[in-house]
Symmetry: C3
């Protein structure tokens, strides 16, 4: 059966949870669609993206938000990034798969990753600023996927 996940959050811990669930479902033979919107798009940003002309406000949003999974903070106890670093270190000690590796696995397992075009417009993200292999669509596409799914999560 299909599973869909809306990834609205850009917090390290929530992005991690989303990819653990998505990869787990794909490993069990499910089709999985992830729909990245708002802060969730930050997980898809290239660390160094191509330069584009943006409005002043889009430039501000883009400049202040984290670029890619390495830069994401925790939703709780982040302490200016320290918390996320601590969690990454504990994950290595416990042999838990890293977020970057989970994102590669998601691609390898054929998980469909859709970037929300409306959110991209608002936050000023162009397609080539995000990682490769994405689809670009709006809420109607998500809803079509949700209709074929037996579990839909908003994270």
């Amino acid at each position: 059966m299909k599973k869909t996940i809306i990834l609205f959050s850009g917090d390290f811990d929530k992005v991690l949870a989303a990819f653990i669930i998505a990869n787990g479902a794909a490993a069990m033979g499910d089709d999985v669609t992830m729909f990245f919107t708002f802060w969730g798009l930050n997980a898809l940003r290239k660390p160094v993206g191509p330069q584009h002309k943006k409005s002043f406000l889009q430039g501000m949003f883009g400049g202040m938000m984290p670029r890619g999974p390495q830069k994401l903070g925790l939703s709780k106890m982040n302490f200016g990034g320290m918390g996320a670093k601590m969690m990454r270190r504990v994950m290595r000690q416990q042999n838990v798969t890293s977020l970057e590796e989970l994102m590669r696995e998601a691609k390898d397992q054929g998980i469909k990753m859709i970037a929300c075009t409306m959110s991209m417009d608002v936050l000023g993200f162009k397609e080539d600023e995000l990682i490769d292999g994405l689809e670009f669509a709006g809420v109607a596409t998500y809803l079509g996927e949700a209709d074929e799914s037996n579990a839909n999560l908003f994270i």
Copy 2:
């Protein structure tokens, strides 16, 4: 098919996401039920409501929480309200429908909006302090709706 959304959050960006999904589903012919609970009730408050006698604590909660969609803040990068203003401005620049307009559309499309009575008791909100056109019910009503739905989100 029916869709249900529990709107627990009162953050501008999450309320926006909820109404975009709800309106999108209604436009595609779905029945949609939104269940507003805890901070999500703030989106339904009239900017200036009638005065009621409340307990000291209810008065404090009511006084500190935002009254209606105009006053909601972002879940991230709010900077004392600046972030929400910035996002509203970018939305206008990008011709994205405003939250107030989305809420009107939701009514026009017949989306069922239920305010959680238990949360209203805790936060001290009376029916006439919230916008018109709502239903008032508890978790059992939500669960009944969820049983008829093929997608249930908690936002």
Copy 3:
């Protein structure tokens, strides 16, 4: 029909919402499975747990995070714990069931409570530091439960 809830959050208000929904569904005859992961595990911690050797980072996480439902803070307007205290007091005034009572009810109603073993490894929680009556499993078990459910929430 079965309902599943992933409880990712350890915020008092979200944990409360999760148990209200779970108990409501069980009262209506549903099977309910709650899957506790990341900060959600804090709701399951014993106030005073047995001592274990932990890595330095696990000790830090464990030491800083709340031990059990009494210690959880609000997701908004917590003011260093004051907000949660205020909400608890209003709940008593309004005769709303307390979180501790809801957790007892959940057990009595046979709600299946699963603690996520991967999160336990990362945060350094041992089985005997959590309350009795839990099952211990990973994401595959959750996904199996979700496949049998008609409503799945991520809180």
